[in-house]
Amino acid sequence: MTQRIKFYQTGTFTVGNRLLDAERRTVQATVDRSNSLTSGHRACQGCGEALGARYAVDAAMRAANGQVIAVNATGCLEVFSTPYPETSWQVPWFHSLFGNAPAVASGVAAAMRAKGRTDVRVIGQGGDGGTVDIGFGCLSGMFERNDDVLYLCYDNEAYMNTGVQRSGRTPPGARTATTPAVGNKPGAEFGQGKNPALIAMAHNIPYVATASIADLHDLEAKVTKAMAIEGSRYVHIHVPCPLGWGSLPRDTMRIARLAVESGLFPLFEAEHGEVTDVTPIRRKVPVDEYLKPQRRFAHLFRQPPDRESISAIQAIADRNIAKFGLLRQEGEV
């Protein structure tokens, strides 16, 4: 048996690696990364969205040789990055409204096309509320017209900017300000919510992917791939919110990781409506491990624990694992 030679100490899991070839390191590992979203922003400590935005936009900046225009929906990201008189953005950035970011991005893309600026690439971005709820009409329109925009949704599973109200991405069982943990069925309803990546796929657009800040290499690869494609592209990025989820700021990465490893947030790619690849779970964990460090699920673990709800959440994870084949062995096709 020949031993597969591994040229790295920590594999492709760390941000950088002095032992890796430069071209295989992440954008985030480079000293000359764009820092598209730079210091001094007013995001909470340990904000997953701030990270996700910098990861994604920096990767896009590298892919487009710095020729990027970003359009932002109203939301946390917009508010914490651009309160007058200071902005944290270092790319041309534009904010119009809560529900129109995809359409505005389409407009910017149309302007670039009209001016023959094919080198300039347009990004639309917003939180889950701005994207999958109030902005969904515009998003769908952008998709079906196949406008040349990469739309990035930073999903923290509720309306955080307004004080943690339920969105179409709030998971079943989660406590929010409008799904309080009181009554017979505490937290968000089971059987509600939507999967925008699957809906995006139904538009038959060239590229759809889910990503997580917990897997930077995967995220950057997806953004890079998306940037090489013309037409409508959608990358849905899971970004834990310490404030809204009731988790410790230092646990943001860990919780993002547990979401992936439990199967609750499957990572996959799709082209023209068909799933083309999934990122396998590395070390599967029961959903309890993901739920427990978050106060929004604390009511599930009171004495006696709400085993029925926890099992229902586990069933969701198991269904994802089965549906996407997340426990694929390495080397298996």
Binding site: E78, S96, G141, E144
Partner: protein, 417 residues
């Protein structure tokens, strides 16, 4: 070149001559023919690299225009009625961001009850959004105002609505002089935005502004309107010199010399009013009219000057501020503040109700004699009103008013309660 042409087609040709770079469209009657015309012109490749986007809503239409404009493209869209209300948030946003978008409003009533015919309820609802509002009297003016609108918008970096009466103008075939591309190019220089999204010179546009600066931003928007007040007559003058005809401007008097009664109105109804005035003048009545070609910014001084000699003023308008009366009338009173000149309000033509010369003549005569009620509802069928009010008084659960009225008029299949 003179053409016998539908108003919408004239507007489409005029817009095309302005070399827009991004056009976004969502269908709503009665503006549809404009964007249909433009889609054809764009498809034929007659506006260079212009992008025509069929969007999913009016909200998206204006949002696409916002994005395009922020990126430095000359952007255009058109809408009517419900569509304007559906994009209301973006209407304010475009103005707040100072984006020089030009939008044609095919003026139409607002439901409920749903109604596709003309009045000014839609554009009047957006009068304080920060957009310039120009009102066209004829199809020629409707076309011409677009050249001025783009130039005004881009010089001041603010959005402009060109309000064109639905059906009455949009669907009417008239003779229109459509200028040549060279003439338009000479009048309308290429778009040079004051700020633009550009990777070579990145900025953040659309910051959140708190109490410490919001007020100033708002004042600056008001100041821009005041600047427009100065610029509109200049642009109209330049237009007249370049094209050899009068279009636009702030206020346009008609036979006001020695007029004791002056009618103030906006849009196509001014034509009917002129005919009425001609008749009444012929009969010896000292009456004239002033056309409000620009409603925002509101030309307070110019209007005051035009009305200063009048003994009374009648404002005829196609919108109703429910609970108050006239919208334009209130603004006109503002122009005449301090004077004792009576200002009568005539609400007319709502939902496409025909405004016949005979009715106007009767109302103006009553006003001229200071016998008119205020506000006066022109040709309102009081019998229907009285009957419905009486019925509603009898029965608490009286059902929808609109349907009851139609039933009363025998317009709905009769069925006994």
């Amino acid at each position: 070149m003179l053409q016998q042409i539908e108003g919408s087609q004239a507007i489409a040709q005029a817009v095309a001559l302005c070399r827009p770079e991004v056009i976004c469209a969502y269908p709503i009657t009665p503006q549809t023919h404009i964007v249909e015309g433009l889609s054809e012109i764009v498809r034929e490749g007659r506006i260079g690299n212009c992008q025509f986007l069929n969007v999913e809503s009016e909200f998206a239409a204006l949002s696409v225009a916002i994005g395009a404009s922020a990126a430095g493209a000359r952007a255009y869209t058109a809408t009517s009625s419900q569509g304007l209300l559906f994009m209301a948030e973006a209407v304010y946003n475009a103005a707040g961001l100072g984006l020089p978008i030009v939008m044609t409003i095919g003026n139409r009533a607002i439901g409920a009850p749903i109604n596709i015919w003309n009045d000014h309820s839609d554009s009047m609802s957006m009068r304080d959004s920060g957009w310039v509002q120009l009102y066209a009297e004829t199809n020629q003016e409707a076309a011409d105002l677009h050249f001025q609108a783009f130039r005004l918008a881009e010089e001041l970096s603010m959005p402009v609505m060109v309000c064109v009466d639905g059906f009455i103008l949009t669907h009417a075939y008239e003779q229109v002089d459509v200028p040549s591309q060279a003439e338009v190019d000479a009048y309308l220089p290429p778009f040079e935005p004051v700020q633009v999204l550009d990777p070579a010179d990145p900025v953040s546009i659309g910051a959140m502004v708190g109490p410490e600066a919001f007020f100033e931003v708002r004042y600056l928007a008001h100041h821009k309107q005041l600047q427009a007040l100065e610029m509109i007559p200049r642009l109209a003058g330049a237009f007249a010199r370049a094209f050899g005809r009068e279009s636009g401007g702030l206020v346009v008097p008609y036979r006001t010399e020695g007029a004791k009664t002056v009618i103030v109105a906006l849009g196509s109804v001014v034509g009917t009013i002129k005919d009425t005035i001609d008749e009444m003048r012929a009969e010896g009545t000292e009456i004239g009219a002033v056309k409000l070609a620009t409603f925002r910014p509101f030309p307070l001084a110019e209007l005051r000057a035009a009305l200063i000699e009048a003994e009374r003023v009648v404002v005829l308008e196609k919108a109703l501020a429910a609970g108050l009366g006239g919208i334009a009338a209130s603004n006109v009173r503002m122009a005449l503040r301090g004077l004792s000149t009576p200002v009568y309000t005539v609400i007319a033509g709502l939902g496409g109700r025909v405004i016949p010369t005979t009715s106007l003549k009767r109302a103006f005569a009553e006003a001229h004699a200071d016998r008119i009620d205020d506000p006066h509802f022109l040709d309102l069928d009081w019998k229907v009103i009285d009957k419905e009010l009486a019925r509603a008084k009898e029965r608490r659960r009286s059902g929808p008013i609109a349907e009851n009225i139609l039933r009363g008029l025998g317009l709905v299949g009769q069925k006994l309660f």
